[in-house]
Amino acid sequence: MEVTLRIKRFNPETDKKAHFEEYVVDVDPRDRVLDALNQVKWYQDGTLTYRRSCGHGICGSDAMRINGRNRLACKVLMQDLGKRVTLEPLMGFRIEKDLLVDMDVFFDKYKSVKPYLIADNPPAHGERLQSPEERHIFDDTTKCILCAACTTSCPVTWMSEDFVGPAAIVNAHRFIFDSRDTAGIERLQILNKGTGVWRCRTVFNCTDACPRDIKVTEAIEQVKRALIFGDQ
């Protein structure tokens, strides 16, 4: 089927500002948006630029705005989009080129919540034990692929640059609620600051945007509750 892609383009070496360009592609209805983008890049205009790698929703490279919603281009099929599809870069990050944005700020915020296990010395032999129930508590937030779809869908992130954003909170949650971790309090203190969880307005955009179906808003609420009641 024929589909028109309206793609927001910006080349910092030649353009003053971003503009839309249109491309007509002939796709199989079951093709991914990424396939349609590849078709443009490979057979119409090699200058079109976006990140991509695994092609099936695991590496987190190709988050973008697809008809106004944050999605992974490799996880949306053309048949679900209609005859005109608008593709834009994620909002709130500096556009480097076309659909590719600067991710450095995003990763810096991720790193700010100490996203790694901090624990007492492990046993000399064998693994630490953790019950399936303990493991289950933070299962959802281990799925994060750092694609930034949640963070860049959050209106608070658009307004205030210093909010750590949903993705960083998700990654803090993953450790705060891990029975093996001993630094939950430290992370909670980080998220208790003016840049942390209290900025969240419970809009649920993040949950809607997550391509891994993580209940992001719920994770944020759990962190808030842990701060109020100390029940991590």
Partner: protein, 576 residues
């Protein structure tokens, strides 16, 4: 041009690169360069598990694991290396848990384990639970955990830097790399005492593949261009259960949890070919069974796929243990795996061959094991060889951990004697010329067209079943495409994020790798593991129990061989 100096450069931030870097962190100055953000590496796509004979669920021993690995590899495995792998496995997997990896757990709270293809109890008696897993996102959890620990240990990353070349001194010591910064187009020379290549596999040489678009074999290609041989590249694993048409992987864990592959008559045909292991026969065999069923007209609706049936598994098992792959079936094929079979067909999956190394990650240049000073390799880009002619599922993630670490340890030992060798004058010249030529040309062949022709032809003739006429045809196609490549052009002439240029650079490597695969497959007149020759259907230990070493010679190739190390298990006929 920018200049840097680090004791060690690690190229690649997948499981292998990060394991090596963590080994060195704090002990030496280390730079990790990676064309993707580390967490985007293809290790993150691994699903099913990582092998270790922990015995958490049922009795298991490293000797059994060793036997399975050697037999699985159709006796082309170097047995001393495999012994290191299976013995170190326990420490490596427990080490991951200590680093924070959220494994799924047994009721007693231990690391959970499941069945996987070719892994058996008591030397082949039946399946054993050896695959340690975290739902069906084990690779994601390994990559994430290693990255988290890299952040913790303040590893220096050069994110989105593309390796262009290795730098060698006149006496053949590797002393750094030339890299291209994608964000700016600037060239960087990184002077180093040691370089570890960990750039992953080359599945993208094929059209139908489970591999990422980044799996283009760059490290192999750059090493090969610099005179390093490539070993056993004719052994490419075709995983039996890729989503039909797409190649996206459905992990063997699906069969480990009880899934069954069925043909158009509904028959669970694997039992007919492999009465003991049935659907958990090793991948090379399962892929051939499927190929045979399709050839005999029992594909679904006479087409080139069969069905993976999970409908008899409980919906809890599917939701808890196989959530991602059931999501793939729903999203990409519109199939509800709890209610209907998933259309699957073999997909190019794993590059058993690669840059030859010894058991400590040192790159070797010949059959005698002569070391290339300063150069190391680990992970899927390397060939130790622990996978031989066919890798067992879950042994690759294990390889990243065990041999990534060993490469790091060997570098530590070597750093005392290695120096910052005097670099040749302008080591970046060849890279500058290569890029200027690509960007400067205004007409010529287009890279995407060359790439598509290569992938078509490789999938057509170098897949599960091969025979002389087809291989010769594809070899001819590749050689023509290499000539076409000599005037290849790119549309994008800019400096900022020129992905068009990057893809053209990757293509050069893929063409060389494809040629080596074809030549190796043509020469090897036998069937062994994943290399099945319809015209030479038997294994031939008299002539071919040896590794292939392919060298670049002018525009062509020269082939040599390396003996297989056999310690405990003499080659036997392989039945399951």
């Amino acid at each position: 041009m920018a200049f840097h100096r680090y004791d060690v450069v690690v190229v690649g931030a997948g499981g292998a690169g990060l394991s090596a870097a963590l080994e060195l962190a704090g002990e030496a100055t280390v730079a990790v360069i990676t064309k993707l953000y580390p967490t985007r590496s293809h290790t993150g796509a691994a699903q099913g598990g990582v092998a270790a004979s922990l015995g958490n669920v049922e009795e298991d021993h490293w000797e059994w694991h060793l036997y399975d690995t050697i037999k699985g590899g159709d006796y082309l495995v170097d047995q001393d290396a495999a012994e290191i792998l299976v013995k170190d496995a326990i420490d490596a997997v427990v080490g991951l848990e200590h680093m924070g990896l959220p494994f799924s757990r047994t009721p007693e709270g231990k690391i959970a384990q499941r069945r996987f293809g070719g892994h058996t109890r008591n030397f082949g008696e039946g399946p054993v639970m050896r695959a340690c897993y975290s739902a069906d996102r084990t690779g994601h959890m390994i990559l994430t955990t290693l990255y988290q620990n890299s952040v913790k240990n303040k590893v220096t990353f050069f994110d989105e830097y593309h390796l262009l070349d290795l730098i060698f001194t006149e006496d053949g010591t590797c002393s750094g790399v030339v890299a291209y910064e994608l964000k700016t187009g600037e060239l960087h020379v990184i002077h180093a005492k040691a370089v570890i290549l960990a750039t992953g596999g080359a599945g993208r040489v094929f059209k139908i593949t489970s591999n990422a678009m980044a799996s283009t074999g760059d490290g192999m290609g750059v090493a090969f261009r610099n005179g390093v041989p490539l070993m056993d590249l004719e052994f490419m694993q075709f995983h039996p259960t890729g989503l039909a048409r797409l190649g996206i992987l459905v992990s063997e864990a699906a069969r480990g949890e009880g899934g069954i592959v069925r043909n158009s008559t509904g028959e669970a045909f694997a039992a007919r070919y492999a009465p003991t292991m049935k659907d958990l026969a090793p991948r090379d065999m399962m892929s051939r069974f499927i190929h045979q069923e399709i050839k005999e007209g029992r594909g679904i609706d006479g087409k080139d796929y069969v069905l993976l049936d999970l409908t008899h598994l409980s919906s809890e098992t599917i939701a808890e243990k196989l959530p991602d792959i059931s999501d793939f079936a729903r999203v990409y094929l519109g199939v509800e795996p709890t209610e209907e079979g998933i259309p699957i067909q073999p997909t190019a999956h794993f590059t058993m061959g690669g840059i030859p190394t010894n058991n400590d990650g040192q790159v070797i240049r010949d059959g005698e094991g002569t070391v290339v000073p300063g150069l190391y390799a680990a992970g899927e880009c390397a060939c130790v060889s622990i996978h031989g002619a066919n890798r067992l599922g879950t042994n690759s993630l294990l390889e990243l951990l065990v041999f990534g670490r060993r490469a790091g340890k060997q570098v530590m030992r070597d750093l005392d004697s290695l120096e910052f060798a005097t670099l040749p004058k302008s080591p970046e010249t060849a890279s500058v010329e290569r890029i200027d030529a690509l960007r400067g040309r205004t007409s010529g062949h287009r890279a995407p067209e060359i790439r598509a022709k290569m992938q078509e032809s490789m999938t057509e003739n170098l897949s599960v079943s091969r025979e002389e006429a087809g291989i010769v045809e594809t070899l001819g196609v590749i050689q023509q495409l290499k000539r076409d490549y000599s005037d290849v052009t790119v549309d994008d002439k800019g400096s900022v994020y020129n992905i068009d240029l990057m893809e053209a650079l990757e293509l050069e490597h893929m063409l060389n790798i494809a040629e080596v695969m074809c030549q190796g497959a043509l020469d090897r007149q036998e069937s062994r593991g994943a290399h099945y020759r319809a015209d030479f259907a038997k294994r031939d230990d008299v002539n071919w129990l040896r590794h292939t070493m392919a060298y670049k010679q002018g525009q062509g190739l020269s082939m040599a061989y390396k003996p297989v190390t056999i310690t405990r298990f003499e080659p036997k006929e392989r039945t399951y």
